[in-house]
């Protein structure tokens, strides 16, 4: 019955060069076009995912540039009000749903399996599916925009503006379905990550030895699992109201517009932490090689991540202070919003202590870490300010809020991310990024960012509203707006330099050694970039800094087969080996399933029957996907 009876080859029985050859043969992605479409290698998919997310960052940046050109002078005529509405909506929706969340998941798809010492992510075919779905959702949004059907209702698409009464055409439907695409893909990745982290950690990687970035992704994945259903319920209800005449958000028939805001922010607030927690995890992990010591307060860091995750669900109402809710509720949400500053503060102090006590190596990633700490603290302080109702009532819908959330999002997530790209670039590509260009781009981005967004606080306090396409000259905002727009040019130049550096280095950068930063985590125990099978022998972990804790030789396990895809499944807490699990081979079915889903979701913008007829091809592709073919048990 089991394939155990068949003669097998184990790694222990073969010579090293022969071993790596066989493993490479077993785990490789087939060559050519079909191979590329059917791959299930988490590294290939992860790289693709990261690249795509950065393309969306660049596109969103172009929109930001357009807005800043328009706002550089009073009564400018580059963009009319309609275009401007579409552009700020596209910018926000694109940055949140197509860049910030996916890029964090993408980094994890690439890094987590390597950091926990396994050979592929759990459910590799689902992983392939999630990428295709994400790509389709992104394409839907941008193609609609190019066809002048882009959403224009703001990234949070408040009803009734987005409802059937006011949101004419298909713009709001495009928004709603784009959400469904991206949530599907985010949920799929969250499930894969949870299971990979729970069950595929290297033997010996007990809970207190999991790298902090991996912890951060675990907490983030749970946030995704608990928060994303809210936005799916919301966007599906919205499209039902628009398409088949339900009345959930229609007050005239017993519905409620605030229901939308509750559902949206029950998701939207954790969403901010879905973006921030991975970034915080990146910092805690990257800081070690650049401070040359283990991160201070491992337990405190992990607890802070978990606490933030839990608290983030209790805060959504602080986005609704001006919506006219009962006072008592507001005080509660003010208090809980301020509480979340505590775990954030704990992390900041742990990082500072690590840097304080460390021997600092001033390479580009460390610059981004320090830039992050500075900016994030400012964003956190203005966060405490807007958490208080009287203040929020004043600045709500002004540029103060725009300043605040860019400090948190760009300072709190994009800075660490750019540092992380410099840091893990050798693992991603096998080459180093240029240090000179890296430092230049850091300073341009850091100075450009602060010069762009700091004055927006003042503009906001002076009353400049957000989401308006222009302003009158006699309001005397224009000097500062001009300054902001010029600074945005510096910021964008910094991003361009970063892109140039990354693209150039991917080709011509200096070849990287296995562990160029002398870092302690497992992904550095294998080649740069890693071979298809990740590790020739599965590492065995005996400390929180596996590569610093061992002298000379890396402890490893033997006994896996080489002639087919096997990885180790370990127990939840103690990471003791439980089984040898077969990992799926490449398959084209996830792509077909994604295409079938895409057809159904886009068709359903136009007709409810799409859900019925469109699910038939989806079912067919899913059966093709799961039909056992190529799993080792079926070969015997």
């Amino acid at each position: 019955m089991t394939a155990d009876a068949a003669p097998d080859t184990r790694d222990a029985d073969v010579e090293r060069t022969h071993l790596t050859c066989t493993l490479a043969e077993t785990w490789k992605t087939p060559a050519g076009f079909w191979g590329a479409l059917s791959t299930v290698d988490h590294k290939i998919i992860g790289r693709r995912y990261i690249f795509t997310a950065f393309v969306f960052l660049a596109l969103g940046g172009v929109l930001a540039a357009l807005m800043r050109i328009q706002l550089a002078q009073p009564e400018a005529r580059l963009l009319g009000p309609d275009r401007y509405n579409q552009i700020f909506t596209m910018h926000g929706a694109n940055m949140m749903f197509l860049f910030a969340v996916p890029v964090m998941e993408a980094m994890a798809v690439y890094l987590v399996p390597l950091m926990v010492g396994t050979r592929n992510i759990a459910f590799p075919r689902l992983n392939a599916f999630s990428y295709w779905i994400y790509l389709a959702g992104g394409a839907l949004l941008w193609i609609a925009f190019a066809l002048d059907m882009g959403p224009d209702v703001g990234w949070f698409a408040y009803v009734p503006l987005s409802g059937p009464q006011y949101g004419a055409g298909k713009r709001a439907d495009i928004w709603a379905q784009m959400i469904t695409f991206t949530e599907l893909s985010a949920l799929a990745v969250a499930v894969e990550l949870v299971v990979t982290i729970f069950k595929q950690r290297a033997p010996g990687m007990t809970l207190d030895r999991i790298p902090v970035f991996v912890w951060a992704m675990l907490v983030t994945s749970f946030l995704v699992i608990m928060a994303m259903p809210a936005i799916m319920v919301a966007s599906t209800s919205l499209i039902l109201d628009r398409l088949v005449g339900t009345h959930l958000f229609n007050p005239a028939e017993g519905g409620d517009v605030l229901l939308w805001q509750h559902l949206f922010w029950f998701f939207g607030h954790p969403e901010v932490y879905i973006i921030f927690l991975p970034a915080a995890g990146m910092v805690s992990t990257m800081i070690e090689p650049f401070a040359r010591r283990p991160a201070f307060g491992y337990l405190a860091l992990v607890m802070a991540l978990i606490a933030t995750g839990i608290l983030s669900f209790g805060l959504w109402v602080h986005h609704m202070f001006v919506a006219g809710l009962p006072r008592l509720g507001e005080s509660f949400f003010t208090a809980s919003s301020m509480t979340i500053a505590i775990p954030a503060g704990i992390q900041v102090f742990c990082w500072l202590a690590t840097l304080w006590d460390g021997t600092l190596v001033f390479k580009t990633p460390l610059l981004f870490i320090i830039g992050f700490i500075v900016t994030f603290v400012i964003g956190g302080l203005t966060g405490v300010m807007v958490a208080s109702v009287p203040f929020d009532t004043q600045v709500h819908d002004t540029y103060f809020v725009v300043a605040h959330f860019h400090y948190v999002l760009v300072g709190g997530a994009v800075f660490p991310l750019l540092g992380a790209i410099h840091y893990w670039f050798p693992k991603l590509t096998g080459r180093m990024m240029s240090e000179t260009l890296g430092q230049w781009s850091f300073w341009l981005i850091f100075i450009g960012f602060n010069a762009t967004f700091f004055p927006m606080h003042i503009l906001g306090l002076q009353g400049m509203p957000r989401r308006i396409y222009t302003y009158q000259p006699d309001l005397a905002w224009h000097g500062m707006n001009l300054f902001v727009s010029l600074s945005a040019a510096v910021l964008i130049a910094g991003f361009l330099l970063f892109f140039v550096n990354a693209l150039r280095s991917a080709r011509y950068g200096e070849p990287a050694s296995d562990n160029p930063w002398d870092a302690p985590t497992l992904e550095w125990a294998t080649a740069s970039p890693p071979p298809s099978y990740n590790f020739a022998m599965i590492p065995v972990v005996s400390g929180a800094q596996p590569l610093w804790n061992v002298e000379g030789a890396l402890p490893v396990a033997e006994g896996l087969r080489t002639d087919r895809r096997e990885l180790v499944v370990t127990s939840l807490a103690a990471a003791e080996p439980q089984t040898r699990e077969a990992s799926p081979r490449h398959s084209i079915w996830p792509l077909w399933a994604a295409l079938a889903t895409t057809v159904m979701l886009i068709w359903s913008i136009f007709s409810p029957w799409a859900v019925v007829w469109g699910s038939i091809p989806i079912a067919v592709t899913l059966i093709g996907w799961f039909w056992p073919k190529g799993t080792p048990e079926d070969e015997s």
Partner: protein, 200 residues
């Protein structure tokens, strides 16, 4: 990096079930996602109810018969479902095959009754917000029955092929049974909301 062998994995079993299996955890995670979705849909129902002056809005309460019949079928189906899970654990192929046929039938039966459940709500989805939310609750749950039924049918077919007799497939049968229990369990609060809250 040089390596030093400290552990031998050769004796480990191939594939595990329950907490030792990755698909079991994956199923659990999907149940958590869908459970959250159900909880939110119920929250929407209660939220709209709290705003309304009368509930149901401009409609009589739903007729009890079809919904109660579905409830009975679902609750009864738990018995063979638990048994099939046990047989799968014992890797008893013959009994599992029979069980899969029974479970397929028990997946089709509630769907047939459900066809009568929608008209028994006594309101259309586009009449008012109350109508919308009960249709959505019922629709959401129906989708779950349908997807699990398709899953069960495919797996049943699989168990009759040469692929059936192996540990991995028995594990799939167990996971499928777990998921069906979830579909039944989530129905109970929805049943309460749709049929009994309007009668309170």
């Amino acid at each position: 990096m040089r390596e030093r062998v400290v552990l031998d994995l050769a004796r480990l079993p191939l594939h595990g079930t329950g907490a030792a299996s990755v698909t079991w955890w994956g199923t659990l995670a999907f149940m958590l996602i869908e459970g959250t979705g159900f909880a939110l849909a119920i929250a929407v129902y209660l939220y709209l109810m709290s705003l309304a002056t009368t509930w149901p809005l401009d409609a009589p309460p739903p007729d009890l018969l079809p919904g109660t019949l579905v409830t009975v079928i679902l609750v009864v189906s738990v018995v063979p479902n638990v048994m099939i899970s046990r047989w799968a654990e014992q890797q008893d192929l013959r009994k599992v095959r029979i069980g899969m046929i029974v479970m397929s039938a028990l997946g089709v039966a509630p769907l047939i009754v459900r066809i009568f459940e929608f008209p028994a709500l006594n309101i259309s989805w586009d009449s008012n917000a109350y109508g919308s939310v009960v249709w959505i609750l019922l629709g959401l749950h129906t989708t779950h029955i349908i997807t699990d039924l398709v899953d069960t049918l495919v797996l049943a077919a699989l168990m009759f092929t040469r692929h059936g007799d192996n540990l991995r497939r028995f594990g799939d049968v167990q996971d499928n049974a777990m998921y069906w229990n979830f579909v039944v369990t989530t129905w109970l609060p929805i049943y309460g909301c749709i049929y009994w809250i309007p009668r309170l």
